[in-house]
Every structure is written in structure tokens, then in C-alpha cells.
């Protein structure tokens, strides 16, 4: 392959700066005192208050909200992200298994029904969903937060395509080997789908982590807030009281909210790419 030229590098560098500079500015600003920010605006270089700000945001009650610490919100976000991702993988694998391997009547139309729900965003069904969850008494619970979101057309579609590419002979060999329907799923299909599962877990973790509207209407108590809601609420607090606006804390919270998804992708990116491009079976 040809060596990339300087102009190629230049374009890449500009692109990278374009993406990362705002993040850097947010981080740098979060390390300054509120007075500095109010007086001088956004900061480009780090200031002296790094530990103080992050300590207050993460561990001090009333540091950001009135009752909860950043740690609690981080925990809530983690539970949502992981529960959301695991739930989606489990449900969509089982759904795809049924669609691909059990030739029941209406199997194909049912798949397309599931598939067309891709066209409907959560917002369309948010009122009925809320109604159902509320009637079941699941408001302000992790169950209520996660379960209504875990049915996944995207996941079902990906797993269906993957299962369809698994050679039929494997199923036939397993049948002759005396594997039950469940045995074939857990002994053959799940191990074969490892990289695919990893890829979908990562994508879904990030999607779950970034959920905003559903957690917002589902949770009424501060102790159940997720980080993403926290960020929104902190700005509200900023604008209301007569105190000095705590911009540094809002920026700190934003940085904290981006860290876990970034870490997840960084750590698992090898599997992630493998899962998306792998064709060898």
C-alpha cells in the first residue's frame, strides 16, 4: 500500500482535533473554580481545582443534586447499561433462534413484524409503556427501568443473519449426536456467536447508557437518577438558585458520563471489530 502523504495526515489530524477538542475544553474547564469560569468563560488549560471538583461531584451529598452523589448516579447508569445490554442479547438470541430454527407457522411474517418495529422509536410508545409499568408498580425500580427496553429488533436481526450463516450440517450433526433443542443452542450456537455477542453487548451498553427520555419519566426519586439525567438536572439547578452557577461540576459530570462507554469500547474493541467482520465459522 502507498504511504499516506502529509496532506492525508493533516486531514486526519484536523478531524481528530475537531472531535476531541470540545472534550478537552470540557475537561480543562471542569478543573477551574466557578468564579474563573463566570469571569473568563471556557478554559483551555487545566486549572488547580481538579481533585476538589471531582471529589465533590462523586462523593459529597448535595455536591451536585440535593440528595445523591455522582457515585450513585454512576451506579444507576451502570445497572441500566449492563442490564439493558444483557437483556437485549438474551432476548434477541432466543427470538432469532426461534425464528431461524423452528419453522413454525407465521415465522417469517412474525420476523418482519419484529423488524418493522425498528421504524418505531421508543418515543412513539412511551405513554402506553409508562402506563403498563406504572400499573405494575414498577416505577422507580431497576426492573421497570430495564425490562420495557430490552426487546430489540436490531439485535434479533443481527443474530438471525448470523444464525442463517451457520451451516445446516452443524444442526444435522448435532441432531444425530443426540443434542436437544436447548443443547444445540447452548453447546453450539452460543459458543459460535461469542464475538457477535461481544459486539452487540458493546453497542447496546452504549445505547443503554445514553438512554435519556425513558429514565427521565420512569424515575421520580433522585436516588434513582442516571448520570445522563443528572447532567440535565444540574443545569436546571444552575439556572434556578441565586448562587454562583457551578459550571465546573456540570462539565465534570459530563466527562464522567462519557468515560465508561469509552472504556468499554477501548477494552473490547478487538472483539467488537472481530464480531462485526468475522465470517469464518
Amino acid at each position: 500500500m502507498e504511504r499516506p502523504s502529509y496532506s492525508t495526515h493533516l486531514i486526519l489530524i484536523i478531524g481528530a482535533l475537531f472531535m476531541t477538542l470540545p472534550v478537552w475544553v470540557a475537561f480543562a474547564t471542569s478543573t477551574h473554580a466557578p468564579e474563573t469560569i463566570l469571569r473568563e468563560g471556557l478554559q483551555f488549560w487545566p486549572g488547580p481545582h481538579l481533585l476538589e471538583t471531582y471529589n465533590e461531584v462523586l462523593f459529597v451529598e448535595g455536591g451536585v443534586m440535593k440528595q445523591v452523589t455522582g457515585m450513585t448516579m454512576l451506579k444507576n447508569s451502570m445497572i441500566l447499561g449492563i442490564g439493558f445490554a444483557l437483556g437485549k442479547v438474551v432476548i434477541s438470541m432466543l427470538a432469532a433462534y426461534a425464528i431461524v430454527y423452528f419453522r413454525f407457522r407465521l415465522g417469517v411474517p412474525l420476523f418482519w413484524v419484529i423488524f418493522t418495529t425498528l421504524l418505531l422509536p421508543l418515543e412513539v410508545r412511551i405513554i402506553p409503556s409508562y402506563e403498563v409499568v406504572a400499573n405494575m408498580g414498577l416505577l422507580d425500580t431497576h426492573t421497570g427501568l430495564i425490562v420495557p427496553l430490552i426487546a430489540s429488533a436490531t439485535g434479533t436481526f443481527f443474530f438471525r443473519q448470523f444464525f442463517k450463516s451457520v451451516p445446516d450440517e452443524l444442526l444435522e450433526a448435532a441432531r444425530l449426536d443426540g443434542a436437544t433443542a436447548w443443547g444445540f443452542f447452548q453447546d453450539i450456537l452460543v459458543p459460535l456467536s461469542r464475538t457477535m455477542i461481544a459486539a452487540i453487548l458493546i453497542i447496546m451498553f452504549v445505547v443503554g447508557w445514553n438512554q435519556y427520555l425513558w429514565p427521565l419519566i420512569m424515575t421520580t426519586k433522585e436516588e434513582n437518577y442516571t448520570l445522563v439525567i443528572g447532567i440535565k438536572q444540574i443545569y436546571q439547578v444552575l439556572n434556578e438558585g441565586g448562587e454562583l452557577p457551578q459550571f465546573q461540576k456540570a462539565f465534570a459530570l459530563t466527562i464522567l458520563a462519557t468515560l465508561p462507554p469509552v472504556l468499554v469500547v477501548l477494552i473490547f474493541q478487538r472483539w467488537f471489530v472481530k464480531g462485526l467482520v468475522e465470517s469464518e465459522k
Binding site: 444435522e172 450433526a173 444425530l176 449426536d177
Partner: protein
């Protein structure tokens, strides 16, 4: 070990397509039967019906004395070797071989004993802990056979197991399969489209065409005494020479060609004269005259291809035929050779029905 019996077995797919039209067959205990036929003839379907991977539309399949139409594949006590091996890619060789035994709740020491025995027999003992993708095609093929052997089944089913191997390995594995089958003495059904494989492996051979068994018998019987045009053209390499002819009451004719020595054939219908390449011989007074096109040197023997002078086939060209000759027979292109054959060793078929008349 068990005998296998097929009684009027039929297969019709839900969309109405018919694949098997009433097959009757008896396979003795310990026999190696080969299903051979062109692709799409239904031989694999028939095998898969014995395996239980395809349902039986009507008729009965018996293994031992038991009708197994509605018995699940795993309970039929058959083991199958697939064309693409169908090894579980994420399991080691040992895992692949033990999976079926574990599902049958066999004790671990018995599993281990069987795997060790089978691995030694197949010479794969040093690969037991490798993954399938670390093995060559031939080794994978052995693992697939090992997976069948450890099950110690009543019937082995082979679905074109050698077609993914290169030519040399294919011959080698063919010999090994035959030896192994002899040694284990397990009733086996082997599907292939390769007539050489079929001829060399089979105790008995079933030639299948369009969902029917055209003829079944020992390989040499089918070669020497084919019942239909299809069997004659399918069995034997190089292929039998087929010359379109008509009978005029005394001899077979095509164009200016007249072949004496035939009698009791119907006149006024299209016939097909079949002469094996090794039945033809060079003779100055021969009835056939060949214009040489090509000589293929196979080492021990030469195949000489050429046009039969004076004849016309359906396309209006002179009929191409092939002659098997010794190494020393090396005519140049466009040389004329006179050939003779023994009419008693030639076959005559009706072209429309394929039925053999002589």
C-alpha cells in the same frame, strides 16, 4: 450391525416436488452399499431419509426389524459423515468426538476409551487437542469419521465424504474407508456421484436416476450387464461409446455405416448401440473406421478419440467414439484406423425408453 430395508419409500416435498418415487431395497448386515447417480437424482435425499433428517412421505424404512419412520435421528443408532465434515468449529477434536457420547450420558472413562481406540485406528491421536481449523482437509475428514466410529452405530451413512479432498488423498481415503468398513463390519450406505469411487468401494451398487433405483447389484454385474441406457452410460470410465442406429432387419445402420451380427431387434425405432472402449480393437477388416482426433496418454494405456466415418449423430456430425489401446498405439491426428468389436459384447438400447434389448 443390522440390516436395512426400504419398502416403497417415497418423498414428496411440501411444495409438491417429488424427489423419490418408491424405492425398494434390502441391505444385508455388514454390507457396504453405494448410491450413485448424477447430482439432483435423489441419492442424498434417500440417505438423509435413512438418517432421519428428511421425513418419509410414504413407505417404510426398517433398521434391524424396527420401523424407524418416526424415530428421531439420534435414536436410530446411525452415524453420518457429512460432505463438508460438519465438525463443531469451537470444539477440539476430542470434544467433537465425545459430544454425541456425552449427550447419551456415557460414563467418562468409556468415552475416553472409545476416543483413544478410534483415534489410534484413524491415526489422529496426536491431534486430539487441536481445533478443527488447525487441521488439514484430510485430517478433518478423519475426525468426522472418528466422530461416527466412536458412536459404534448400527449403520454408517456417508454423504459424499471425499468430494472436498484432492485427487490423491481421495484415493487414499477411499481405500482406508473400505478397509475400516471391512474391519468394523458395520452396515454402511455411501453416497457419491463419482462412478470410480462407487465401483471400487461398493459391495453392491445402486444406480439412482430421477428418484428411482435404475439397477442394483455388484459393481461388475452393472458394468457387464447394464439393464438400461442410463446405467450403461453412468458406469464405466472412460464412458461407454453410444452410437445412434436403426435396425433394418439384418444389420444396424447409421449413414453409410452397416453393422452386421445383430438380429431380433425392432425395426423403425431409434436404437442406441453401446460399445465399451475396451471392447474395440484394431483390425484391418473391421467394420468401423475411425478418424483420429486426439490421443490421451494415461501411462499404462492410451485413449484414442476420433470421429466414426460415415455416421451422423443428432447434431449432424460424425459420432465421436473412444478406444482404449495399449501404450504402443500412438496414431497421429487424422490417421484412419479400422476397428472391430464382438457384437456379443455390445449392448443395444431403445433410445426412447432406455430399455436394454440386447
Amino acid at each position: 450391525m443390522a440390516q436395512v430395508e426400504l419398502k416403497q419409500v417415497r418423498k414428496t416435498y411440501p411444495n409438491g416436488a417429488e424427489a423419490i418415487f418408491g424405492v425398494d431395497m434390502h441391505i444385508d448386515s455388514g454390507e457396504l452399499i453405494v448410491f450413485v447417480g448424477p447430482s439432483g437424482c435423489g441419492k442424498s435425499t434417500l440417505l438423509r431419509m435413512v438418517a432421519g433428517l428428511e421425513s418419509v412421505t410414504s413407505g417404510e424404512i426398517l433398521i434391524g426389524d424396527k420401523v424407524i419412520n418416526n424415530v428421531s435421528p439420534s435414536e436410530r443408532d446411525v452415524a453420518m459423515v457429512f460432505q463438508n465434515y460438519a465438525l463443531y468449529p469451537h470444539m477440539s477434536v476430542r470434544g467433537n468426538m465425545s459430544y454425541g457420547l456425552k449427550n447419551r450420558k456415557m460414563p467418562a472413562d468409556e468415552i475416553e476409551r472409545r476416543i483413544t481406540d478410534a483415534a489410534r485406528m484413524l491415526k489422529i491421536d496426536q491431534f486430539l487437542d487441536r481445533q478443527p481449523n488447525q487441521l488439514s482437509g484430510g485430517q478433518r475428514q478423519r475426525v468426522a469419521m472418528g466422530r461416527a466410529i466412536v458412536r459404534n452405530p448400527q449403520v454408517f451413512l456417508f454423504d459424499e465424504p471425499l468430494s472436498n479432498l484432492d485427487a490423491k488423498l481421495r484415493v487414499q481415503m477411499r481405500i482406508e474407508i473400505k478397509k475400516l468398513q471391512r474391519r468394523m463390519n458395520v452396515t454402511s450406505i455411501y453416497v457419491t456421484h463419482d462412478q470410480t469411487e462407487a465401483m471400487t468401494l461398493a459391495d453392491r451398487l445402486a444406480v439412482i436416476n430421477e428418484g428411482r433405483v435404475e439397477q442394483m447389484g455388484v459393481p461388475m454385474e452393472l458394468y457387464a450387464n447394464p439393464r438400461t441406457l442410463f446405467v450403461a452410460s453412468f458406469i464405466g470410465a472412460p464412458q461407454i461409446n453410444l452410437i445412434p442406429v436403426r435396425f433394418d432387419g439384418t444389420s444396424l445402420t447409421n449413414g453409410t455405416l452397416k453393422l452386421a451380427g445383430f438380429s431380433d431387434l425392432p425395426t423403425g425405432v431409434d436404437l442406441m448401440l453401446g460399445i465399451r472402449p475396451d471392447v474395440l480393437s484394431i483390425a484391418p477388416e473391421g467394420q468401423l473406421e475411425l478418424n483420429v482426433d486426439l490421443v490421451e496418454q494415461h501411462g499404462g494405456e492410451n485413449l484414442i478419440y476420433g470421429a466414426l466415418l460415415g455416421t451422423k449423430n443428432a447434431a449432424g456430425d460424425a459420432q465421436e467414439i473412444c478406444l482404449k489401446g495399449p501404450q504402443s498405439l500412438l496414431p497421429a491426428t487424422d490417421d484412419k484406423l479400422r476397428l472391430a468389436f464382438d457384437p456379443a459384447a455390445a449392448f443395444v438400447f431403445r433410445t426412447d425408453t432406455g430399455e436394454r434389448l440386447k
